[in-house]
């Protein structure tokens, strides 16, 4: 699509090899040096559910303008082993430049031969291959060798000196290859740099959620590892000593959420991180949060189900799970970040909402969002002070005092002179078991009434495109940037895009947005159009066109543009 020779503003690099070959290392180093050099970058990984072997790849988009979505197109491919080419064959076009070890790859495709393995082996170990590859690419983008070497030195700071030296040597040799490729005219990359990018921040979705949680005052995390939620859990564990966060790996997800509820009860601000199958096990606890009006923040990191499904792939298949799981009837809030900035700000907000309305709040993310990196500016991650809603109790404190908006001031044990009773049975204002039908009705009404306040606080959707639209495209969560970029490509005059940052309760303005449209389109990374069903249920509007994908991969910009172009 955008041939390299046509002085592009964006290039997509893909590196592919087996698990254990260091794709992650390549990704980290390349994105950082490219950014420092003044490029916008976006990187997304796809990997198999195994530790070694198979085929994993990372795509790194390098651009003059902000870039944040997955594209099918591969401008430059570095296959690190033979299966890599087969793994990516559907994405290789005649315009794809393949750089690699001709001998090792043994393919009919035209290849620019670079002796990755030979250099690495000469340095004494196959593992230097990835640094050679990184360096060739850095050289092609004309990054200062010294900058790269400085970066490598700090990256490998805790390795022994010999290894550091060899990495630096590998970098040097990679650069020489790049120089030859440039001077021979084989490759000529000319993308304008932007010096303002250098001081930006590179993070991924998982880190953005973790930082957002800290910004929300999170000081207690109990979780059980499960892809793709583990990243957030791990980041929080890493930040724990600095921020005094109590991090505990629970024996199972049931324990995790029940710990979380105990923590909130005692005045902490807790979060649990999980994925669909683990969340199923938390649903009785969710219901407990519901009747006891205990705040809870849940990261529901989606991957393709049912059951174990595709553990390391992506999907948006658990919206209805978040909407309806947990027995009985009680309110909840579902936030659906679409960008790193939203991942940060909505997670921060989740703690505020949970504390204020005393309901469970979901952050719905997915593997694609959590594992994707790009550069953001400092202002995209802007913490504001935490305001806790806990009150100091007095003598006759009643945890479930009946109030006009259904929200009772929340006390905790050991703070004030009152006693705090919490009960999973239907209860009276003091939290004691009741079977009185009148009290039951009052308590159900009280809990459901909170939805009114919640509706008034809904985070509004983001509208973009033509004010005077005929077609309205709706998306939620991680499809945000991809839809935006597809719109940019299509450049359609009478279409608009509505990105939902909160899907439950649905924002009030949705109905009028829908009413204005002649044609409605939903984009969902699942097989049944779960948001479309919710919209129909809540607004009565049947979404006309559904663009769905459920093979475990995110939409690519081209694919989506293509599908949209048929409808718009």
């Amino acid at each position: 699509m955008i041939p390299i020779s046509h002085s592009p503003t964006e290039i997509s690099l893909v590196l592919c090899g087996e698990a254990g070959q260091g794709i992650q290392t390549i990704e980290t180093i390349l994105t950082n040096v490219l950014k420092l050099h003044g490029y916008h970058i976006f990187a997304t990984k796809e990997y198999m559910s195994r530790i070694r072997g198979g085929s994993n790849s990372t795509e790194i988009c390098v651009a003059s303008n902000r870039v944040a979505s997955y594209v099918d197109r591969i401008d430059i491919l570095i296959p690190l082993d033979k299966p890599a080419i087969d793994h990516l064959k559907h994405r290789i076009s005649p315009k794809t430049i393949i750089l690699g070890d001709q001998e090792q790859l043994a393919t009919d495709l035209p290849i620019i031969d670079i002796p990755l393995t030979k250099i690495a082996t000469a340095l004494g170990n196959h593992i230097f291959t990835n640094i050679v590859a990184v360096s060739v690419l850095s050289g092609l983008f004309q990054i200062d060798l010294e900058m790269l070497q400085n970066y490598l030195a700090s990256y490998f700071a805790n390795k022994n000196r010999e290894i550091v030296e060899k990495n630096l040597a590998a970098a040097h040799q990679g650069y020489q290859i790049a120089q030859e490729l440039i001077s021979s005219g084989s490759i000529n990359i000319q993308i304008p740099q932007n010096p303002n990018i250098g001081p930006e921040i590179i993070i991924n979705g998982a880190d953005a959620v973790a930082l957002g949680a800290i910004a929300g005052g999170c000081n207690f995390v109990a979780s059980y590892p499960m892809s793709p939620s583990t990243g957030v859990f791990t980041y929080l564990a890493q930040y724990a000593p600095e921020f005094g966060i109590l991090v505990e790996q629970a024996e199972d997800e049931i324990s995790a959420i029940n710990m979380g509820l105990g923590a909130w009860y005692a005045g902490a601000r807790a979060m649990v991180t999980t994925s669909g199958g683990g969340f199923d096990l938390m649903t009785e606890g969710l219901s407990l949060a519901g009747i006891t009006e205990t705040p809870m923040v849940i990261l529901l990191a989606q991957r393709p189900g049912p059951a174990t499904g595709l553990p390391t792939r992506t999907e948006q298949g658990d919206l209805e799970l978040a909407l309806y799981s947990g027995h009985g009837e009680f309110p909840r809030i579902i936030l659906t970040p679409g960008s790193l900035s939203e991942a940060f700000s909505l997670t921060q907000k989740a703690f505020r909402f949970a504390d204020e309305f005393q309901v469970p709040v979901f952050i719905m993310a997915d593997q694609y969002l959590l594992d994707s990196f790009y550069n953001v500016s400092e202002s995209d991650l802007n913490p504001s002070p935490v305001h806790s809603c806990i009150i100091e109790t007095s003598d006759n404190y009643q945890r479930y005092e009946l109030t006009s908006d259904g929200i009772s001031p929340r006390g905790i044990p050991g703070f004030g002179t009152g006693l705090v009773g919490l009960d999973s049975d239907e209860h009276d204002p003091a939290g004691h078991i009741t079977e009185d039908p009148e009290m039951r009705i009052q308590m159900v009404d009280k809990r459901l009434k909170k939805l009114e306040s919640i509706r008034n606080a809904v985070i509004p959707p983001e509208f973009s495109g033509s004010q005077d639209y005929q077609t309205l495209v709706i998306g939620w969560g991680s499809t945000y940037h991809t839809i935006k970029e597809a719109f940019a490509i299509l450049n359609c005059k009478r279409a608009a895009f509505l990105h939902l940052k909160q899907v439950y309760p649905l924002p009030k303005e949705l109905a009028s947005y829908l009413k204005t449209a002649d044609k409605t389109v939903i984009v969902e990374n699942n097989a049944t159009g779960q948001l479309a069903k919710l919209i129909k249920q809540e607004t009565g509007v049947e979404i006309g066109h559904r663009i769905l994908k459920y093979d475990g991969f995110p939409f690519s910009v081209e694919e989506l543009a293509n599908k949209l172009s048929k409808i718009l």
Partner: protein, 286 residues
Amino acid sequence: MDKAVFKIENQDIAWCPGCGNYGILNILQQALAELNIGPESLVMVSGIGQAAKIPHYLRTNFFNGLHGRALPPATAIKAANPSLTVIAESGDGDMYGEGGNHFLHTIRRNPDIVNIVHNNMIYGLTKGQASPTSQLGLTTPVQTRGVINEPFNPLAVAIAMNASFVARCYVGDSVQTVEILKKAITHKGYALVDIFQPCVSFNKVNTYQWFKEHTYYLDNTHDTGNRVAAFAKAIETDNMPLGIFYENSKTTFEENTGVYRNDQRPLFRRELDVSKLTAAINAKKM
């Protein structure tokens, strides 16, 4: 302290007349009062079942959660605010059946809480099915041919897990039970107190009489520091020993998490230092 501080006026207790649960309620109040632990600094955590209703019958803070799930919130409550005295209390079905996994892993964590189990060898609230501790052969409406699964031995398992305090009591002897319970509460670390409690409505085999006839107290030749000896005592099932089987001293979960290493304040008293967060974010620029 007078145990009257725990009294709730005009309350309707949902237990059957004659049930062993009344005795446990009384013993608990007595032990707390003798230790001067008042309602404000105490949190009772329970699951669901007849035993698990206990927090509603004494005036204090309580977290009456889900069936089988008392231990995780109890651990978290203690961890979030170590100045509270936390007691997790439920029935045998709740703690050893539905909650079995938490039983194991809470012992591994060793939070400084007391875990009281009303062991009536039956599911009371759901009307008399076998519990994990039901004896072989006991017939019930579900176990119509009698219990076929090996009874769960909570003491042996707790000792196998190297729990930090392991005791068994019989509610019929309130004097000794109060003493043991006081030791459990003052013990630092996780303390299991399994209390034999007759269910007069559904367990017609393991009655007051039966427990009296099938138990005896460990004497002072028993070394509570000897794990193997404690185990040997724990697997005596014809005539079952009462008393403190095993004790050790370990650091607690709260201590081990590191959260209180440089700051003694409970979590709710702390505030996020936003500038620190900003600094952490800015550190990512390079």
